[in-house]
Amino acid sequence: MIEEEKPVKESDGLEDLWKDFSLAAECTKLDTNEDMSNEKDVDDENEMDDDCNHDIRIHEDLGHVCRICGMIVRKAETIIDYQWKKASRTRTNYYESRSKDADDIDTGAVKVSEDFIVSDIAIHPRHAKQMRPHQLEGFSFLVKNLVGDKPGGCILAHAPGSGKTFMLISFIQSFLAKYPSARPLVVLPKGILGTWKREFQRWQVEDIPLYDFYSVKADKRTEQLEVLKSWEARMSILFLGYKQFSRIICGDGDGNIAAACRDRLLMVPNLLILDEGHTPRNRETDVLASLKRVQTPRKVVLSGTLFQNHVSEVFNILDLVRPKFLKMESSRPIARRIMSQVAISGIRSLKGVHDSAFTESVEDTLLNDDNFTRKSHVIRSLRELTKDVLHYYKGDILDELPGLVDFSVFLKLSTKQKEIVHKIEAYEKFKRSAVGTALYIHPCLSEISEGDAADRATNLTDATVDSLIESIIIKDGVKAKFFFNILSLANSAGEKLLAFSQYILPMKFLERLLVKRLGWHVGKEIFMISGDTSADDREVAMDQFNNSADAKVLFGSIKACGEGISLVGASRVIILDVHLNPSVTRQAIGRAFRPGQQKKVFVYRLVAADSPEVKFHETAFKKEVIPKLWFEWSELCTTEDFKLNQVDIDDSEDELLEANAIRQDIKALYRR
């Protein structure tokens, strides 16, 4: 809609009122649509008589006008859709002037707290100016563990977005200044390699070469060996993806070249940094096994979401950075004390401190124990156990943002959806999850989702989904309906929307639905980021979505939108399905709720009530509670702080949820 506003003296004062106007008008429209669709069911025959057999005439100024009834069937400005040519984007990178002199690095001691041990590694003055208190603490924590007579690994569990990368870069440079023969190795998800390189170029005080296999397209072992030799020959840093690393170490290649690569990766690094360090948490994977074989004791794990699914995974990572962690001299007494504190069950044997028994007991106590005193004892002991090797930072940078409201919205299924829910309960777990996710969006998707993977790929083309959309009624699918309504309201309020899902089919369906029903276009109003999207396309999509006034909605595959993607243009987030790993969901929310956000962020986690999805939601929430208990619990907390609070819609502080069209679908509303 084109708005031409006449200049008004009190334009500032009236802006709020105009926004209220738009929101109220949109609420009215939604209610009207609701009434119309209800009436249509009853008065189908009457409607047909009233329909005008339009005789269209083209008026230059009005558009397609019916000569008989005078209705403007199609407005003049919508007849021709002009695709404006996109100007090519020019990028200029400016780097700070680099200091070539290594002696510039300050060799004086830096005291950040009374307890700080004076160290012979210091932060570079340029970095020290930029660092926040928790980064200074983290730096000294790294120094304590990695430098000295008995270096050992450690974990930095800092919240996402709190500047771990910058702190590590600063440490690496100070470390290399003291140990020029050191060869740091950074293992990280491949997708964020570019981010790290950019940060390095921004913050480096010396020109340190950065090597990786991907920018030079080293696909064969011989080429990779060349890169490894270059890395070994001079002071430099090597970047490697997790999968690439484990493939080299655990691969089947028995040739000399493969063996040489393997040996270099295991023996050469003096400092091993694992970004997104929760990745190697599963003991049955090659990644964990291969990382354990690296010989240096200096291993740093970076993770904003250390706890993922189970307590044992945290201890797997602790074993990675400190081999045989629970059997160390300092750990054994505390572990034994914890075992004596946890509730004794008949099944559990008291003989020795086995890792699995220990972690099972801790998990059970944190989740299920009603004795609050015992729980607090276990928590305190856990912290004592890990305080030397684990530095936790919750992250207060997000406190400066306008705010986050996190809802779990339980929606009533439509009649058609309820019928189909009974059928899918017979499926095994993962199939039920996949089919159910599609079903809760709209019942017509369940047939596609049930098909084989090969058939599904065929069905995901635009033409197939479009033909499916022709005949459906949106309100048969409660999540599709909720999505549509929230999108309309958010759009009228001037806010952009993010929609995340685990699966491609629901997002493809909603995308084509918007194209068909609202006339929007992919690349203009609608954007999509999934695993198939290339790095360049992601960049373009992010930039356009955040900055373009036309952008309305971005669909993201929940695992593809990880670190390095910033979508601060959006202030409404819909999680279309329940992911069993709450860290993945938190990461997705972090795409919008991060530095640079200007508005209050509202999150809607959609759960289909009276369906298997409710149980998934419960399971995921329990996992969320454990790290809160472990790291954030204090004497002042009560059990209420770790529960989902049910909220009445009128008290939700969210104007969008108060619209009647949305309210009637909501069975229950919870707020974190």
Partner: protein, 175 residues
């Protein structure tokens, strides 16, 4: 109410089937088409809502269009219009009541919004028949209200004006 008398020009298109050698029938066709176009157009940003065509000044010589055979007649006429003004006092009736505020109608203007924020003394009471109430009076559907225009803007897509109203002032409120 502010009424304007505006002299305007408009191109009127007559299809070949309505052409006739007798002048009066052609003149009638032009006038009918003119009234039709004015009704469809409804309003303009500069002049406001078209109320009535009051005087036909001139019908200039027609130009024949190729291919279709239509004839384009430039017509000059005067028209009475109503344009909203800031600070104007109008009387309207309540159309819809929402928590955010009230929608009003007044004459040709169908999109007038009275925000809950500017009615600090009125309280919203929800339910099947929602109302706004204060100590003295009540605003419900179809109540007649005298209000003042606080601001307006032109919506090109809908070809209408949207008005912001307020009840703060003497003699304003439900009648």
């Amino acid at each position: 109410m502010v009424f304007l008398k505006v002299e305007m020009s408009l191109n009127v298109l007559i299809s070949p089937s309505q052409l006739s050698p007798q002048g009066l029938l052609l003149r009638k066709a032009v006038i009918v088409r003119l009234l039709e176009d004015i009704a469809n157009r409804k309003a303009s940003k500069d002049h406001g809502y078209y109320i009535a065509v009051s005087e036909l000044k001139a019908i200039s010589e027609g130009k024949v269009r190729e291919l279709t055979g239509d004839v384009l007649f430039p017509v000059t006429f005067t028209c009475i219009t109503q344009k909203p003004m800031k600070g104007e006092v109008l009387v309207g009736s309540v159309d819809k009541i929402l928590k955010h505020g009230i929608f009003l109608k007044s004459g040709p203007i169908e999109s007038i919004f009275l925000s809950e924020k500017t009615m600090s003394d009125f309280k919203y009471i929800g339910g099947e028949n929602a109302v706004f109430m204060n100590e003295h009076s009540k605003l419900e559907k179809d109540t007649v209200v005298r209000f003042k225009v606080m601001g307006f803007r032109w919506m090109e897509a809908d070809r209408q004006f949207q008005l912001l109203a307020t009840l703060a002032g003497d003699y304003l409120g439900p009648l």
